[in-house]
């Protein structure tokens, strides 16, 4: 599935020296990420205004930036929109609540807005994605009658219906109940295991500890630390980045838990 001419060293997502301004304010400055390989679920963590969403939107080519962002060695900024949409799936924080489109139409729009997918094939693909996410029963419901959590699942369906190589998700669990959070993260792991690069912004460090292969902590527009959850989630990091006093402990089944004691003075 990788682009022609891409060598193995360049497989995956590479983010080098990225700078992003918002108006005249610099949000992200000279940021480089470790190479993110297919098969991995990476969580972008960090406090509010650390630049997580901004970086994610830059990778999705939804906001202008300077620097190099490549997928399998191909510069994403150089790809025409249509081709990029085949490679990159993006799930935003929220889906507009006002549309009376029915769920299936919205997934079909995601698929047919630029591609030449034949109608029958598109219908089947859209239903398959809803089935996969366990929301087939929502297919004929209008978007404006769904709950926030249901809309979030539909949004994920829109992001993966093109079978993208790179999947970017901005706080995908923010509106989900506990069972759906687990379902979504398990699904993200499966999507990664199928050979995709999956990057999600998550606020919930417990979820990140449980599900991520790797956590990248952003702080003030640059990378503070990165690595497997057990290496990254430390009291020192939580103190420096989040300004909280916290304990990171192992509980039963060797699971990491992050216990926040109080805000630092």
């Amino acid at each position: 599935m990788s682009g022609a001419g891409a060598n193995t060293a360049a497989l995956g997502l590479s983010v080098r020296d990225v700078a992003i301004n918002y108006g005249r304010r610099r949000i992200v400055d000279g940021l480089s990420l470790p190479d993110l390989r297919p098969g991995e679920l990476t969580v972008l963590a960090g406090p509010n205004a650390a630049g997580k969403s901004t970086l994610l939107r830059a990778v999705a080519q939804l906001t202008p930036y300077r620097g190099a962002i490549t997928l399998d060695g191909r510069d994403l900024a150089q790809l025409p929109g249509r081709e990029r949409a085949q490679l990159v799936g993006f799930m935003p924080q929220t889906l507009p609540a006002g549309s009376s489109l029915i769920v299936l139409q919205s997934i079909l729009a995601a698929l047919r807005a630029t591609g030449e997918t034949p109608a029958a094939q598109a219908d089947a693909a859209a239903m398959a994605v809803l089935e996969r996410l366990g929301i087939a029963e929502l297919a004929l419901r209008p978007l404006n009658q769904l709950s926030g959590g249901q809309r979030q699942m539909v949004s994920l369906a829109q992001a993966i219906v093109r079978d993208p190589r790179l999947l970017l998700l901005d706080e995908p669990t923010s509106a989900l109940d506990l069972a759906r959070q687990v379902r979504l993260l398990a699904e993200l792991r499966r999507l990664a295991a199928e050979g995709r690069v999956v990057v999600a912004v998550l606020h919930d460090l417990a979820l990140a500890a449980q599900w991520a292969d790797r956590i990248v902590v952003l702080h003030g527009g640059s990378v503070h630390s990165h690595g497997p959850p057990a290496e990254v989630l430390t009291p020192a990091m939580l103190a420096q980045v989040y300004r909280v006093e916290a304990r990171v402990e192992r509980c039963s089944r060797d699971r990491l838990v992050v216990l926040i004691d109080h805000e630092m003075a």
Partner: protein
């Protein structure tokens, strides 16, 4: 379950397509109704005979049908179709259900254009005098929307910015219009007021042909953009993530809107409401899948205008009311009824 759901979805789509077909038939009937009403009181059979050329009809009947009623009916149909299609596209690309060409300054710009012809006597150099008012109205309306786009692009093309510029433009044109009205003679003022009320009285075959041409050129591009426009209902960012070049979509769509609404307003003056209500009624009937929504809007607009044209001849016997007044009078009750009864997501 998947197959059952898909079958249900396809049944819904067939129903939507059928609804669009039925609307086309009703719109055609609306034109016939428009044709057979008028102060001359021609019987239905005679009107149809004159139309089809089957059988003998008097010369007078032939003239009334072919040079008075038919151009009026056809122009009404086309104006309604053009305004509603323009409104539908505009609501989608500006992501605002209140957007329509006339709320964004097209009508006041067109009125200002008409005023320059009526009051100042200015017109395009090589245009025949009888087209001076239409020509100016068209130029000003088109100019207003193109200016709007240029201003919007300078500020990044945000829909909200476009709407604000549109409102500003509306007031600016209105102010200049007041200035012209202030210096106008009584005769010129009356002519201008009638023009702004919207009238089909000046409908002609060349006008109908021009409108038909604009529709024929723009509508296919609108329909071709249906999936992209549907995707835009998910928000600009999502549409871009789906690979849609939203800026280009918006630019071309607003160009189509400009052409459609400028030609409509140039032909018949200010006809409010159709561009706003047509799309709303269509949305309630067939939903937001633009493959159905765009043609349904076009047909709703056509039907509303045909009915308005018919009523403008019949409400007060022997008086041809300005059709712009009538669209509001008949459109509003239908509109209210649909909002009150409307179930989202149909």
């Amino acid at each position: 379950m998947t197959t059952a759901l898909l079958e249900h979805y396809h049944r819904q789509n067939r129903r939507r397509a059928m609804l669009v077909g039925v609307m086309a038939v009703i719109a055609a009937l609306g034109v016939v109704l428009d044709l057979v009403t008028g102060p001359a009181g021609l019987p239905l059979g005679e009107t149809l005979r004159a139309l089809t050329g089957a059988g003998e009809v008097s010369r007078t009947t032939e003239v009334i049908v072919w040079t008075v009623r038919l151009p009026v009916a056809v122009v009404a149909l086309l104006v309604g179709a053009a305004l509603a299609l323009a409104g539908a596209e505009m609501q989608t690309v500006l992501e605002n259900p209140l957007a329509e060409p006339f709320t964004l300054g097209v009508s006041s710009a067109a009125a200002l254009g008409a005023a320059t012809a009526i009051i100042l006597g200015l017109s395009l150099p090589f245009l025949p005098t009888r087209w001076a008012i239409s020509g100016n109205a068209f130029l000003f309306a088109l100019g207003a929307l193109l200016l709007l786009q240029a201003l919007g692009r300078a500020r990044g093309g945000d829909p909200e910015v476009l709407i604000l510029f549109g409102i500003a433009l509306n007031f600016a044109a209105g102010a200049f219009l007041s200035l012209l009205q202030f210096i106008a003679s009584a005769d010129a003022l009356q002519q201008l007021v009638f023009w702004t009320m919207g009238s089909l009285a000046a409908a002609s075959w060349p006008g109908a042909a021009a409108l038909a041409l604009v529709l024929a050129v723009t509508a296919p591009f609108s329909f071709r953009a249906a999936w992209r426009l549907t995707a835009l209902r998910m928000g600009e960012e999502q549409a871009r993530a789906f690979g849609v070049d939203v800026r280009a979509l918006r630019r071309w769509s607003l160009l189509r809107v400009s052409l459609l609404s400028a030609s409509a307003v140039a032909m018949v003056g200010v006809i409010g409401f159709v561009g706003l209500a047509g799309p709303h009624i269509a949305r309630l009937l067939v939903g937001e899948d633009h493959r159905f929504f765009l043609p349904a809007s076009l047909l709703t607009g056509a039907l509303v205008m045909s009915l308005a044209s018919t009523l403008s001849k019949t409400i007060v016997a022997g008086v041809l009311l300005p059709v712009g007044l009538v669209t509001s009078l008949i459109g509003l009750p239908i509109f209210f009824a649909l909002i009150m009864r409307g179930r989202p997501g149909r």
